[in-house]
């Protein structure tokens, strides 16, 4: 008995963490299991196993056009936000200049503002200017809220670099541009990739700001939200599960490649 209670108290924190993970994954597992449900229009009660939804994920009306829009918005805004945010991160991480504090504040404020305020204020401006909300206004909004997260992520990577590597390059007669291209940029690249992944997942999953600024453009989260009232088709579970599998695969491949490169050095 004593040894059991000792094992228990020694591993208490591990047990706690395991329970936390179970809590995190219950809805994920539920979504996955119900993607195989042989259901009709709604997907509330288990009716039997089928692969039909996986073989035909576009089977529910409008779901794939919404998904296509989400990808288009996600890729475009990720690209723009990653470029703009990385430039800012290099300026903040590498240069002294006047207006640094103001810049930091301007980066921090969008992250400290609730999404509903960001969405509502942007829509107010579009209304005042007489601009109709569309795919373009959605992308504008997504770039706006992604930039700060890119800056913070890339800046952290730049700050963690060992300055001696760049000094060594300079000692070996590399000029500033060569040092940047051959040493600094490759070292910062994993941070930029991480920032892009973060920006894409924020954009792809955003509902509140999108709902304010997309007008009649449908996105995957909007599709899910609207169909929640009358029952979500199992195809939405297929797409959610597939996104989960793809994203985890990308992260794991990235980590394996990263650790291989590290062991080479």
């Amino acid at each position: 008995m004593k040894s059991i209670s000792r094992w228990f108290s020694k591993n208490l924190i591990r047990i706690y963490a395991a329970l936390a993970f179970i809590y995190l994954f219950i809805p994920v597992l539920y979504t996955f299991i119900f993607s195989f449900n042989d259901s009709g229009k709604t997907n509330l009660i288990w009716k039997g196993f089928t692969l039909e939804k996986w073989s035909n994920p576009c089977g529910a009306p409008e779901i794939c056009s919404a998904l296509g829009n989400s990808f288009l918005i996600g890729f475009t805004s990720t690209f723009i936000a990653t470029v703009l945010g990385t430039l800012i991160a290099f300026a903040l991480g590498r240069y002294k200049f006047k207006g640094r504090a103001t810049t930091n504040l301007l980066i921090f404020l969008p992250m400290a503002t609730p999404e509903i305020v960001l969405g509502a204020s942007l829509l107010t401006m579009f209304i005042n200017l007489g601009i109709n909300t569309s795919l373009l206004t959605t992308i504008i909004a997504h770039v706006m809220f992604c930039i700060s997260f890119v800056v913070v992520t890339v800046k952290a990577r730049i700050a963690s670099l060992d300055p001696r590597l760049e000094q060594a390059a300079m000692d070996l007669y590399a000029n500033e541009w060569q040092t940047f291209r051959r040493v600094t940029f490759p070292l910062v690249l994993p941070g930029i990739a991480g920032a892009a992944l973060l920006a894409f997942s924020l954009s792809f999953d955003d509902f509140i700001i999108t709902n304010f600024n997309s007008g009649t453009v449908n996105t995957f989260p909007k599709f899910v939200y609207v169909s929640a009232g009358r029952g979500i088709p199992a195809q939405a579970n297929v797409i959610g599960s597939a996104m989960f599998i793809i994203a985890v695969a990308i992260v794991i491949i990235g980590q394996v490649l990263g650790s291989k490169r590290k062991s080479k050095v």
Binding site: I13, R14, Y16, A17, A20, Y23, L24, F25, I26, P27, V28, Y30, F34, I45, V83, L84, G85, L87, I88, A91, R94, Y95, K96, F97, L106, M111, A112, P114, E115, I116, V117, L118, A120, S121, M125, I140, A141, M144, S148, V152, K155, A156, A159, P163, S201, D205, F207, I208, N211, F212, P221, V224, Y225, A228, S241, F244, I246, V248, V251, Q255
Partner: protein, 295 residues
């Protein structure tokens, strides 16, 4: 937020560049933020003092600052609820996330990276799908209600969804990774020698935790609570999906005034009040928590 970043310990001399180069790097991004973040906030401020012309969707500027007061009084219940729910959700998330981050940072060995991926992984299933999944798991036809009723832990009439309980746990669930990651980052950065030193000085495990580990992880706790509290306070999705008419939050009111009632001025006034309240809270909190550089 610097709390998420890793200080290298090595001081890198920033280039003292008198040229315009850093400004060229900043210009496109900051211009975007100016045009699509700052100017909209200015527009929001202008809209918040307008009044209706009588025609639907048409408003004129009349500098009616009473809009702020009126809308606040109208929505004071939802306002208080937003801050109460967000506070409770933040506390629950902290109670779950701190031990989780601690276990990943100190007890996971070679599994560390895998576990970190697992913390973020649920994010990739759309957050709406996960919230709706909770509704069905806890709902009338779901397994949890049936089991609890069968065991007579809850009465036959008690429902788990459509309640304040469901909204708060939904909020805590949805923002849990935002809490876990910064705490993990600050725990992972702790030099294990400081913990050994504490043990050498005859501190027991608990004292070491209280006097060394916890203070050193405070930047992560501060960043995590902010990243959880801010989106939770403005959220209306959880209240919509998991709540009932008596659990509506401020976000629900703003959304309804924008899209259903088409009363932009009071919606703008409420948005502005929410933003101001959150910024004031953040400032007080950061001062109190003593984390200077947060950006």
């Amino acid at each position: 937020m610097a709390a998420i970043s890793r200080p290298s310990g090595k001081v890198f001399a920033l280039k003292d560049n008198k040229s315009l180069f850093p400004y060229l790097l900043l210009a496109p991004g900051l211009l975007w933020l100016f045009m699509f973040f700052i100017l909209p906030i200015v527009n929001l401020a202008q809209m918040s003092t307008k009044t209706s012309t009588g025609e639907s969707g048409q408003f004129e500027q009349s500098y009616r600052f009473a809009n702020f007061f009126d809308s606040f009084v109208d929505a004071s219940g939802q306002f208080g609820r937003s801050f109460l729910y967000a506070t409770l959700a933040t506390l629950i998330a902290l109670a779950i996330a701190y031990p989780l981050a601690y276990a990943i940072a100190f007890k996971s060995g070679k599994w560390k990276n895998v576990l970190l991926v697992l913390v973020v992984a649920p994010f990739f299933v759309s957050f709406l799908l996960r919230t709706i999944a909770w509704k069905q798991i806890l709902g009338e036809e779901g397994p949890v209600t049936a089991i609890l009723r069968g065991l007579h832990i809850i009465s036959q009439q008690t429902t788990l969804t459509s309640s304040a309980f469901a909204v708060v746990t939904g909020l805590a669930y949805n923002f849990l990774p935002f809490m876990t990651l910064p705490i993990y980052a600050s725990l992972e950065r702790i030099d294990p020698r400081t913990l050994e030193a504490s043990g050498d000085l005859y501190a027991n495990g608990f004292t070491t935790f209280r006097k060394v580990t916890l203070p050193l992880s405070m930047p992560g706790v501060v960043a995590g609570t902010l990243l959880t509290f801010i989106p939770a306070a403005g959220d209306y999705i959880n209240a919509n999906i998991l709540g009932n008419p008596n659990t509506k939050m401020l976000g629900n009111v703003i959304e309804a005034r924008f899209f259903k009632i088409v009363d932009y001025p009071t919606a703008a006034a409420l948005s502005f009040t929410l933003m101001a309240a959150i910024l004031i809270l953040i400032t007080l909190y950061i001062r109190k928590a003593g984390t200077e550089e947060l950006v």
